[in-house]
Amino acid sequence: MLSRDSKAGIHLHYEFEVQGGDFAKAGTASSRVKRILQQIGTDAEIVRRVAVACYEAEMNVVIHAHHGTVVLDADLDSVRVTVADEGPGIEDIELAMMPGFSTAPDSIREMGFGAGMGLPNMKNCSSEFNITSEKGVGTTVRMVFDNA
């Protein structure tokens, strides 16, 4: 067994690039995240929630932004997923958080995305949810999933 002190330093860090507009590869980062969490023995329910939330966040980058990164940090107690993008930013976050609200154009909706459930879904899946955005610069979503 590892001592308490040595356990404090146990931490995984991964970064995945996401290309805006690349629908063919969309979902790759969240698949990798899911597999890593399964390999380190994360509780199945947490894996399920991270898989859904991370995919939604990744899709938001693909749909709305030019470029973004999915960052995974996992330690003994929790899983953190941070998705930051360089994109148009969100004008009114409160409005964006409303279920059903979407700024996705029809072309995206026709592909089955942009139903306006992305952000509310991420919030529902995570134990802590934080979103910051600057118009014309980009958006960052921070999610924490407790490994309870």
């Binding site: 380190i40 023995g41 894996v47």
Partner: protein
């Protein structure tokens, strides 16, 4: 964790014929669960990961992957034998061969009775329709009919177990009906009645023999379609009156039930529009990934089959699956109305009155195999090591190390099942390094010899100089 203890509960029908295996990399590359490793020149199957889909049986160029199933010889062990042919069997014979002919012929090659699995399918379809009409919160439901898909979910998608349809397979229901009927018709105890599934695939052989998951003891064993095929061909009953006489008492399926033997047939039999049919194990994996992402919100039901084309594509069938697929489609269209006969069959009504007949015997348990260690801290450490190792590997995924790709080798190394030097490129690198070290060492001299050499050099100095100056 992949340890010995776990393997003992899993029955497998796919085995290796060691003498035929050349240790090539074909099977390790095609295994959807990365369950095979070449060790000491032979392809070893990691039992906890194997889902008995039969992909390796299909791909092996040396016929070294074999399916161990029951044979017709076992019928001698029982007083009364009942055949349960899988729908895929009806597509194996020449164009125009009627399902009733096949059923009648089964009664002439050693079986005393036949219960058509398509009959079970017709009844199960009705039950699934009811299930889909219930306002359930778990959608999409995933068909339980293909045992390789169910195992795939247990092994690779344990999160999706709750999506598996809570209704048994047509084969299981047919078996319950067959048991009930055999008891009534013969009065024999269960131990003297043999119930035989005529199977298109190794997955069903395993599902029948396995104790975990489905503990149903109704089915005695599984005999490959390929073994029964020549016997039926030889004895095919052709006289219409004889056929009618033989099949009059049998529980036969409709064209819709028979349709279950091909991809899309199950959905057609159930009816409705919020369903999709996915065939081919790699396509099934992709769709399950999408279910995990929560992407399939508009779909209620997924008919998923490991084999391309559905059961007709099983490795224990005889005819080309694209041909059998068409034949089953024609049969389904011709005999769809026979569903009325099925619905009026008293045993079908009796089955539908027994809610318990449709329940899985045991809960379907997760069998996760990805976890690197039970201790999360150790697992995280191993994960880090794995990334380091992976970065040092060439990334060619050549398979020469015996693992299907570099990622799998890195995983095997941290699990203690392989070493980095199993990689031929790493090995060559190391040999080069050693050769260089040897060169350097060969130039080094122990101190005692160094002085002697110095003296020698001094002595020869003028000569050496003149040599350097040249003529």
């Amino acid at each position: 964790m992949l340890d010995e203890k776990q393997t003992q509960n899993y029955f497998h029908s796919v085995h290796l014929a060691e003498d035929k295996c050349k240790g090539c990399v074909n099977c390790i590359k095609h295994c959807p669960t990365e369950a095979i490793r070449v060790r000491e020149g032979k392809a070893n199957i990691t039992e906890v990961r194997c889902i008995d889909c039969g992909e390796c049986v299909r791909i092996c160029p040396n016929q070294a992957k074999i399916v161990v199933a029951d044979s017709m010889a076992r019928l001698a062990e029982f007083k009364h034998n009942v055949a349960m042919p899988a729908p895929a069997i009806y597509g194996q014979f020449r164009e125009g061969t009627k399902p009733s002919q096949v059923l009648a012929t089964l009664l002439t090659i050693g079986f005393d009775d036949v219960v058509d699995v398509a009959f079970g399918a017709d009844i199960v379809a009705k039950r699934i329709r009811e299930e889909l009409e219930k306002p359930g919160e778990i959608r999409p439901l995933i068909s339980s009919a293909c045992p390789a898909v169910v195992r795939l979910i247990q092994v690779r998608f344990p999160n999706l177990i709750e999506h598996i349809l809570p209704v048994i397979t047509p084969m299981r229901l047919a078996a319950r009906i067959a048991r009930t009927e055999a008891k009534r018709r013969t009065g024999l105890p269960d131990s003297e009645v043999g119930i035989w599934f005529i199977t298109p695939c190794p997955g069903k052989v395993s599902a029948i023999n396995e104790s975990a998951g489905f503990t149903d003891v109704c089915v005695t064993g599984a005999i490959p379609i390929a073994e029964v095929y020549p016997l039926i061909r030889e004895k095919m009953v052709r006289d219409p009156e004889e056929i009618d006489r033989l099949v009059s008492k049998l529980h036969r399926g409709s064209g819709l039930g028979i349709g279950w033997g091909r991809s899309g047939g199950e959905n057609q039999s159930i009816g409705g529009s919020k369903q999709i049919a996915v065939d081919g194990i790699h396509n099934v994996i992709q769709i399950l990934e999408d279910v995990e992402r929560g992407k399939l919100s508009e779909i209620d039901y997924i008919e998923a089959q490991a084999c391309v084309g559905g059961c007709v594509g099983g490795v224990l069938t005889v005819e080309n699956s694209f041909i059998t697929r068409r034949r089953l489609r024609l049969i389904a269209a011709e005999a769809a109305e026979e569903i009325e006969r099925v619905e009026n069959d008293p045993l079908a009504k009796e089955a539908l009155d027994h809610e318990a007949w449709f329940a899985h015997d045991a809960p379907i348990e997760p069998r996760p195999t990805l976890k690197l260690d039970d201790d999360r801290a150790v697992a995280i450490r191993k994960m880090e090591q794995m990334e380091e190792i992976l970065n040092s590997l060439p990334g060619l995924d050549c398979g020469s190390c015996g693992a299907p790709n570099c990622q799998a080798l890195a995983e095997d190394v941290v699990r203690g099942l392989a070493t980095e030097m199993d990689c031929v490129f790493k090995l060559r690198e190391r040999v080069c390094q050693l050769a260089e070290e040897m060169m350097l060492l060969s130039e080094k001299l122990p101190p005692a010899m160094r002085q002697a050499l110095k003296n020698k050099e001094e002595k020869n100095a003028p000569g050496a100089d003149s040599e350097q100056l040249g003529p």
